[in-house]
């Protein structure tokens, strides 16, 4: 069950009751100065836990792209990380414009990024696709003018 209310997310599943690590990271929309810092921190946490390199690689890609999406498009957001013996899970919520057409947003090359974001090398329309490719479970839901919720699960072999 996921309760999503003003960025307060509570996730209860049988698997996540038995977690190895759990933390929540706030992301400020529009601030590119620290964009990517949370993902670097998450990668370091997963390394310290001793997860396999391939799991760390996928989690770092998924976390980075999610972080950049919040910075690029939302007012604020939160990245919740839960590591269980079998999974790395991210519950990511933002307050922002939302995504009117998720199917279109998932297409490689489609982006609503403005010129400034594109000039920095972001907004290539690869982010959501990269996240999906790095995930075993990818569930994106959104409400226009409210925000977007993304659940990502990466299995640990």
């Amino acid at each position: 069950m996921v309760v999503w209310n003003k960025l307060k997310i509570t996730v209860h599943t049988a698997e996540t009751e038995n977690y190895l690590y759990k933390n929540s990271f706030d992301v400020e929309g529009g601030n590119f100065n620290n964009a990517g810092a949370i993902s670097t921190q998450v990668k370091s946490i997963l390394k310290n836990i001793g997860l396999p390199n391939n799991v760390i690689r996928k989690a770092a890609i998924a976390c980075y792209e999610s972080e950049i999406n919040i910075v690029s498009y939302a007012r604020q957001g939160v990245i919740n990380l839960i590591v269980t013996p079998k999974t790395v899970e991210f519950d990511i919520a933002d307050e922002g414009p939302g995504i009117p057409d998720i199917e279109l947003a998932m297409e490689q090359g489609y982006s609503t990024a403005d010129r400034q974001i594109r000039e920095m090398g972001f907004g290539a329309g690869m982010g959501l696709y990269n996240i999906k490719c790095s995930s075993d479970i990818f569930n994106l839901t959104s409400e226009v003018d409210k925000g977007t919720f993304l659940k990502i699960i990466i299995n640990i072999p």
Partner: protein, 111 residues
């Protein structure tokens, strides 16, 4: 091969983290789209790019690149250098365009 060898062979200018030039280089990646670099580059790569802003440091740090080389004599911004020194990522400059620089580094690495 380490970063210092590539600097000497290709006459690069070092702009940050000059104490980290012994980083081992195991491969390379050329690209200006950050999502492409995040998805497809590897730890130990030397990253060749035209982007000069501070977010390249976060990408290189996350991917554990050996260093970043800016092409066409492009200079990094002040924020980029500050971040690169904090994160200990060597940022270097080449006067070559990306195509030539990539070819030269490829040849050095496959020798």
């Amino acid at each position: 091969m380490n970063v210092e060898t590539i600097i000497k062979e290709l006459n690069l200018k070092v702009r940050s983290a000059s104490d980290k030039l012994n980083n081992n280089v195991t491969g390379g990646y050329t690209g200006d789209l950050l999502s492409d670099v995040i998805a497809n580059s590897h730890e130990g790569d030397i990253w060749i790019t035209r982007q000069v802003h501070q977010n390249i440091v976060a990408v290189a740090s996350l991917k554990e690149h050996a260093g970043i080389i800016l092409t066409n004599s492009c200079e990094p911004t002040g924020e980029t250098l500050e971040k690169a020194n904090q994160e200990k990522i060597p940022v270097m400059i080449s006067d070559l365009p990306a195509f030539e620089l990539t070819g030269k580094i490829y040849n050095l690495l496959v020798k």
